[in-house]
């Protein structure tokens, strides 16, 4: 636990000193304006929540995938991964804590989005169920961390890690109903989307903001927890398997 806390703090320090990291946060501002301008142009204020949710989750997911993904890749290129391999703390513990750190930092996009909406279109988001919203956002952040760890570890195996990260991003955002609700996709896509925790998160966040009464809250929260948990177990397993593999092949080092 102490090692995880140290890894969390260490990654926070690294992220705060890395200008590239803030690009994801900054890029949220034009995205919010873009989405809101479309809503405004078509006079669909009922889609405001969708317009604000999309850039927020894109930024959180993007941070987990890009910055979190770079945790392992950078450790490998920087030679730190060999020191981790020889340390008593399993590397998976450090990876999950460090991805969690960047995801927690990425939650800054929530106030950035709200402030941008207020300053650009004078919008004040009225949340019907603020308590539920906070719980869902926190669970979503945890699930993003768990899933981000999977992608982070896979970057070891991919020679084209950046291409891999890029191509992995959009399918999950689409299946997660981030751009448009899942029910607008063809029927055959929807079951696939239900296997992605983001689809449960986005639906529940929209409902928590707009609906007077939110149905099946426990089941929907459980779906996020279970799918996030599966991601966590899979991520830890992958880190272990991949570290074993690179110990065998010698690919642990880039030199």
């Amino acid at each position: 636990m102490r090692a995880a806390a140290a890894a969390f703090r260490m990654q926070l320090s690294l992220a705060l000193r890395t200008p590239n990291y803030w690009m994801v946060q900054i890029s949220t501002v034009p995205q919010v304006i873009l989405f809101l301008s479309v809503i405004d142009a078509f006079d669909r204020p009922d889609l405001t929540t969708h317009a604000l949710l999309a850039p927020t989750l894109i930024a959180m997911w993007g941070t987990a995938l890009w910055t979190g993904g770079s945790v392992v890749r950078d450790d490998r290129w920087g030679g730190q991964i060999e020191n981790h391999a020889a340390a008593p703390t399993p590397y998976g513990v450090a990876v999950v804590a460090r991805v969690a750190a960047v995801v927690v930092l990425s939650m800054l996009v929530v106030p950035i989005t709200l402030v941008t909406a207020r300053l650009s279109y004078g919008l004040d988001l009225e949340v019907r169920h603020p308590g539920l919203l906070v719980v869902v956002v926190l669970l979503t952040a945890a699930a993003i961390t768990a899933t981000g760890m999977i992608f982070s570890s896979l970057t070891i195996l991919s020679r084209a890690a950046i291409t891999f990260q890029s191509s992995a991003s959009y399918p999950l955002l689409l299946l997660g109903g981030v751009f448009v609700p899942l029910e607008l996709f063809p029927d055959w896509v929807q079951p696939l989307g239900r296997l992605v925790f983001l689809s449960w998160s986005t639906d529940l966040i929209r409902d928590a903001v707009t609906e007077a009464s939110v149905a099946d809250v426990p089941v929907r929260l459980l779906a996020i927890v279970v799918l996030g948990g599966i991601g966590f177990v899979a991520g830890q397993w992958l880190v272990r398997v991949i570290m074993h593999r690179v110990r065998v092949t010698g690919e642990i080092s880039t030199i």
């Binding site: 102490r2 090692a3 806390a5 140290a6 890894a7 260490m10 320090s13 690294l14 000193r17 890395t18 920087g78 030679g79 730190q80 060999e82 020191n83 981790h84 391999a85 020889a86 340390a87 008593p88 703390t89 450090a94 074993h244 110990r247 065998v248 092949t249 010698g250 642990i252 030199i255």
Partner: protein, 317 residues
């Protein structure tokens, strides 16, 4: 119980690519024992297998065959136990989080090595002081010179106060004074009961600090000896130097069986290089018999041993 015990260790690397190629053998049937409290040097040219052996012992790489134990724990089946007892230091400036300060780097690794929370700050301060980085403790590592990074590597390797320390080319990038201080520190560690296993291709370093030295090349152990013993092991290379030797005497010396060559040296000295047992004695007898009074002899330095055993490899060394 030996600190390090290696038996019939083999490590292969399979080249990537579509064409099926033979594996590269980095370590071939390596046997090695390092006693507790010993400074053991692994000496060899680039590509000899030094770093691979350190990585296997430090559980970073898995062996292809054979066994390796550190303080009695198998590096494969008891890897966690091994990791709790070792420190690992690679040479060069990779391996540190350069955007963080030296102090934060050490605090991070202290947590990963389970150094008790209450003891971490004092341990970090002590190590920073010991490697001469106290003044720069709160500066980002990216502003450090290569030598400073190397000293920080050493502090990182010592963070958990491990009984066994693996140092892979630890003085790469250090200036002569820092290298000297490093050697002093290594000897202090040995005096404190630590076992130090260091790889180097610096003969002076190996000769200065090691209790025993293992020569390795092409993944095979060539010899393991004390530095002085290693010299005597090839005592047939014991050289003889003499001053003011007549040309006729030089010719007689040259004709002695086992004399490989005679080279002129500065200030009228010549060096006679035997390459067979007993040749040096015959050379001395000839010189003394000829009335030569300025004579000196010497064992080959480790570097000469290295060259004799491994052979000239030019830029590869």
């Amino acid at each position: 119980m030996p600190a390090v015990e290696v038996l019939a260790l083999r490590r292969e690397f399979r080249p990537k690519g579509r064409r099926r190629r033979d594996p590269i053998i980095a370590l071939d049937d390596v046997d090695l024992t390092v006693a507790e409290g010993e400074i053991h040097g692994l000496l060899g040219p680039n590509g000899a297998g030094k770093t691979t052996l350190v990585k296997v012992l430090a559980t970073v790489l898995l062996p292809t065959a054979g066994t390796a134990r550190v303080l009695g724990f198998d590096v494969v089946t008891d890897a966690d136990e091994v990791r709790r007892r070792i420190g690992l230091v690679f040479g060069g400036d990779r391996g540190l989080y350069t955007r963080l300060t030296a102090r934060r780097n050490l605090h991070y690794w202290a947590a990963l090595y389970d150094v008790p929370t209450g003891a971490t700050a004092a341990r970090v301060d002590y190590l920073l002081e010991r490697v001469g980085l106290t003044e720069r403790a709160d500066d980002r590592v990216e502003t450090f010179s290569r030598g400073m990074k190397q000293r920080l590597h050493l502090a990182r390797g010592l963070i958990s106060d491990p009984p066994v320390l693996f140092l892979d080319e630890p003085t790469v990038g250090l200036d002569p004074i820092a290298s000297l201080d490093f050697r002093k520190l290594v000897v202090e560690l040995r005096d404190a009961g630590k076992t130090v296993f260091l790889t180097t291709h610096d003969m002076v370093e190996a000769e200065a600090v090691c209790d025993r030295v293992t020569l390795i090349d092409h993944g095979r152990i060539l010899a393991t000896e004390r530095p002085a013993t290693l010299g005597s092991w090839i005592s047939r290379y014991e050289w003889v130097e003499a001053r003011g030797v007549d040309a006729a005497v030089v010719d007689r010396v040259r004709a002695i069986p086992g004399v490989a060559g005679v080279e002129p040296r500065a200030e009228d000295w010549i060096r006679i290089q035997p390459d067979a047992d007993g040749a040096a004695r015959a050379v001395l007898q000839t010189l003394v018999g000829a009335g030569v009074t300025s004579i000196r002899t010497g064992f080959p330095s480790l570097e000469e041993v290295y060259v004799k055993v491994i052979g000239e490899r030019g830029m590869e060394v």
